[in-house]
């Protein structure tokens, strides 16, 4: 893993109607790392993600993205957030229609990229379907494909698997790990599930509200290649217990 910083948050503050949701948050995330922001509901973890994405403006402090990531990131929302009148293919190609930074890319290249990412998320046979014809897991894979199709260097994910059933969620987690390794992305993953954060990440940052204080910031000593057997391993459960204690503290 590179030690070059991809994102730097310095004394970050955010208030909504005089309620301070984020209070002097300092965080540095390295290029190519997979970091999970974990915490209870209302601790400000989604707000941090939105601040990084520029969907919210900070009340104070600084959000600094490296040159590669700035303006070239993907965002996966809590819901798949697909446009119901567009096919799977068209939904995945949407960033190319919208982003001024991607307008130079030729139609052939767009087609190649969209079909390649659809193959990676195992949806190549569903490209002509509309969202209402897909299962929850398939919708989320389209959403992931849409975020990855423009080849971003940074992927921001806001509890993307929260609404999925457990089996689909496990499948998606493994798929996401594989994609992260293949694409060498920086991933910031927001979740309230310790199990999910530990399974997916190299580093877990525990936030506690109000104010989004960092109460634990831990690098995980787990194998790069992860599969379902890890979930029942001793080392995995030991880490969960440790983070869980941090959450209760």
């Amino acid at each position: 893993m590179s030690e070059v910083s991809s994102i730097r948050l310095e004394n970050l503050k955010k208030s909504f109607h005089q309620r301070e949701v984020i209070q002097n948050l300092n965080l540095e995330i390295q290029q190519g790392s997979f970091v999970s922001l974990v915490g209870p509901s209302g601790c400000g973890k989604s707000t941090v993600l939105r601040l990084i994405a520029g969907l919210e403006s900070p009340t104070g402090g600084l959000v600094e993205l490296d040159e590669e990531s700035a303006g070239h990131f993907g965002f996966v929302f809590q819901d798949a957030n697909l446009l119901p009148w567009k096919t799977v293919y068209e939904n995945v190609a949407l960033p190319f229609e919208l982003s001024p930074a991607l307008k130079e890319i030729s139609q052939d290249e767009i087609k190649d990229r969209v079909l390649k990412i659809l193959t990676q998320v195992k949806l190549q046979d569903s490209q002509h379907l509309f969202p209402h014809q897909l299962s929850g897991g398939m919708k989320m894979r389209v959403s992931l494909a849409r975020a990855l199709a423009p080849k971003p260097r940074l992927l921001l994910m806001d509890e993307p698997f929260a609404a999925l059933d457990e089996i689909t969620r496990y499948e998606m987690q493994i798929q996401l790990r594989d994609l992260w390794q293949q694409e060498k992305l920086t991933v910031i993953f927001v979740t309230h599930s310790l199990l999910e954060a530990t399974f997916l990440s190299e580093r877990v940052v525990l936030l506690k509200g109000p104010g989004g204080r960092v109460t634990l910031d831990r690098k995980l000593d787990l194998p790069i290649k992860r599969d379902d057997s890890l979930r029942t391993s001793e080392s995995f459960n030991k880490i969960i217990q440790e983070i869980s204690a941090g959450l209760k503290a």
Partner: protein, 250 residues
Amino acid sequence: MKRLTPAFIFFVFVTAILQVLIKQDVIHETLIPAPSSVWNTLLEMKIDYVTSFLQTLKNTLYGLGLSILIGSLIAIVFSLSDLLKKAILPFAVFFQTVPIIAVAPLLVIYFGFGAPTVIASSFIVSIFPIIANTLMGLESASSAQKDLFRVYHGSALKTLWKLQLPVAYPYIYSGLKVSAGLSIIGAIAGEFVAGGGLGAMIDAARTQQRVDIVFGALILLSVMGLLFMGTLNLVHRLINLRRPFPAGEL
């Protein structure tokens, strides 16, 4: 076809009952004409009816077309400018409450007798649902959908074209259905004062106490309304065959 069978049976039943009641003098024919009299009048005066029908239809379509064009543009401008919306929309709401029959004489002064007044009357009555529904639809995109477009720096124009308008589709369709009916009402009110079409025919029949002519014209106006609704339904089905636009909460 199966769907229409109960309505058809009900229509035949009511027509038969009316025919009997009127022919037995239970209801006087000067109040409600016998269905057979209306049918005969329709046949006898078919040239007058067809000419008037086409005249009203043409002016209504012009009025409705203008409403769709101008109403949609106004809604789009309002959706882009909160200030304009706040400044002008209350007056549009106020103006909508003024009965068209009270405004129609003014239109004759401004546009003279004939088609321009009828078109203006139809336009005035039918534009408000287009503005209100289109505006509501344009503002109905979810915050998550708007965020998606913001993440990819979609311009205001692209957001309008690729998000707001498709999301607004069910609202626009619903507004069109309301406006289509209102445009006929507006045209008839215009024809009462400016002449021409089925409106003038009804007005002339009133002075002669010819309720059969009035009922004949009413039937044709209903046919016009059904034609509008049928066309809108057909277009809606064709669009939805190609694209599953959101149904909205309508």
